[in-house]
Each structure stands twice: as structure tokens, then as C-alpha cells.
Amino acid sequence: MASDRSDSAAPLLAGCALWKQGAEARIYRGKFLGRAAVVKHRFPKRYRHPQLDEKLTRRRTVQEARAALRCRKAGISVPVVYFVDYTTHCIFMEDLVGSITVRDHIVTTQQSGDNPESLGGLADEMGRILAKMHDEDVIHGDLTTSNMLLRNGSEGPGADLVLIDFGLSYTSALPEDKGVDMYVLEKAFLSTHPNTESLFQQLLNSYTAASKKAPAVIKKLDEVRLRGRKRSMVG
């Protein structure tokens, strides 16, 4: 049996504190050469066949690193990647200190009964950023409001949105793939945040206004909605 590879990452992670644990990866916080950093460690999954696990884990790490650079080149905010260890599948990246997820922000805003129109600016910004991303033919693959961060102090107008978690991302120019990307977001959005149909529509309107290729994507989105939940090839 393969040795416990998650231990090989231990020396690298020595100075860091475990922050979150997901099914896919553990997130640590620490310092990288003096800077506040987040380490995303995709640990070995022992329920998978070892060779398959290695391939999948490596692919996800690589895709995430590549997408980070492609997004930055297009002017989309994503955390700066400082260092990638392709042997242990650790990504060292910028820690957005004090940021909150869009999910938490929406939840808080709704709970406090605050003016829900303030979320309109956020919806506009989300639509714009996603339009930019799709225009670059980057498909995120896992769009949810938990995968969008608001930089510290930017909850008000002029929201500074940062996209994260590009492990399932890939390149595609097809409106079908972009439509599915948006469908995933719609499902996640509406199930996490009740009574936000009009907010999401505002997001779509902003998306349409920001991208010339949008009409084809929206058309596909409508088709997908009618079909029901579409499964992408990766399980």
C-alpha cells in the first residue's frame, strides 16, 4: 500500500494552523516568507485507487494554478499564487485577511433585515466579473457564493470581489459550458439564499450587459433549466 503521503506535507505545514477542512482539501493559515498566506493542501484520498488519486489531485492543483494566472491576466481578482509544491499538492497563496464570503455577507444582510437593495451593487459586480471570466473562456466549474470573497471593508458599494477555488476549472469557448457554469451558480445561489430570485436575475442582467457573448450563454442556460440538472463529466 502506498505510504501515508499526507505526512510528507507535514514539514511544509509546520508553521501553519489548520483553518478549514473540506472533502477535497485542508486549508491552513500561516506565513510565507513573511507574508500572510493560505496553504491549500489537497491531501491523498485513501478511498481512491492510488494512481487515480495522484492523477486527479495533480490535475486539480495544476488547473487551479493555471486559472489563477489566466484570471489575473484578464483583470479578474484571484488570490496571488506564491508557490506550488507539485509533490505534496500544496498551493501557497495570498491570504485575504479580513475578507468574508459573499455567502456570509448575503446571509448577514438578510438576517439583519437591512435594505436588500444594497445587495444589488453586489449582484451587478458578480455579473460583471463572471462575464469577464467567461469572455476569457475560463469555466470555473464550481461557482457558489462561498467561492467568492469580498475584500476587507468592501461590502458597500464598489464591492471588491475575489474568486477562489478553481480546482474544477477548465478552458472552453462553448456557450453550453458557460451556461452550465451559470446554472450551477443559480442552483447554489437560490438554495442557499431564499427569496433571491430577483437578485440573481439582476446578476444575469449585469452579465448580459458586460459580455457580447452573453446572449448565447443565457440561451443555453434557459435550455439547461428546462432539461433539469445536467451532469458534467467529472462526477
Binding site: 494554478a65 489563477a68 483583470g75 509544491d85 501557497f92 495570498e94
Partner: protein
Amino acid sequence: HRRLELFPEYSVTQMLFTDVKNAAALRKSAMEGQINGALINPAMLVDPFQALVAANKAVHLQKAGKMKTRSLLSEIIFNLSPTNNISEAFRRFGMSDGDGAVHVVTVHPREDMSDVDTILARVEGRQVPVGEISTFTDVPGIKKLYKVTPSEEKCGSLLEAVVCRMAVKDVV
């Protein structure tokens, strides 16, 4: 001087010199292994952090037995480059015989400053604080070489653009 968190037995020391008179001799000494320092063209550096990142990656790859070049020092220079072409990296980022300024990066055991002392003794030039590197930086040259897009500059600093490319270039 900075300790590498990931490799705590090492320290990285950076030194910046101007009015250098013996560039050619220094290069020769480095190539013959008499100086333990990577001699870098400071025009290609935005910030000492950039050199630190290059050194960190070099040490990591050396430990993993996966360096692309033949020595730790040449690996540091190679890591600075946005491309995977080794000779191009040396040409653009390494010091040239005619240079008047040089940025030296050395990786040494934590408490042992002997390599640093050797370098200080050998360079015929004036040492300036490493924080002043920006006075040497060729910003337009770097933007061109790293192909930094205008939209990219809106979402981050030039240093971030450079560091990101250094981290990702093996798979891009």
C-alpha cells in the same frame, strides 16, 4: 536576511551593490564556485520578495531532486524567469560582464555567515540597502518580459504579477 520558514535550517541573505568595478571577475569566481552567490541583474527585480520566492523554490526543488538546472544558484536565476528556457533566463536575469550593479542572493546555513563575508570581501563596489532595489528596476522592461497586461495591473501590483508567473510557469 530571512529564514526560510519551509526550510528552517537555511537563511537567505540578499545584498545589493552599485558602482561595481569587477563584474567580469565576479562572474568568473561565481562560475568557478568560489563565491556562493547568485549574481542577478537588479534591473530585473521589483522587490527583494521576488528573489526570496525564487530562492525558496530553488531550495524546495533541490531537496526534492527536481531542479531544472545544475546548481542551486543557477536554479535561483532560472526561477526568476517567466519562461522555461534556461539560457534565456541566464542571459536576462544573470549579471553581465559590463554591469555596474549587482544583486547577490545567497542561501546558507542559518547561523553561518561565512559565505556572506566572502562576497562582501570580493565585490569591488558600494553596498546599498536591499530595500533600494526599486531605484534599479526597469519597470517597462519587466512588464514587457513578463508580458504583464494592463488589466492585470488593475487587480494587483507588478510584484504580484511577477511572483504569480514564477509560481505557475512549470504548468502553464
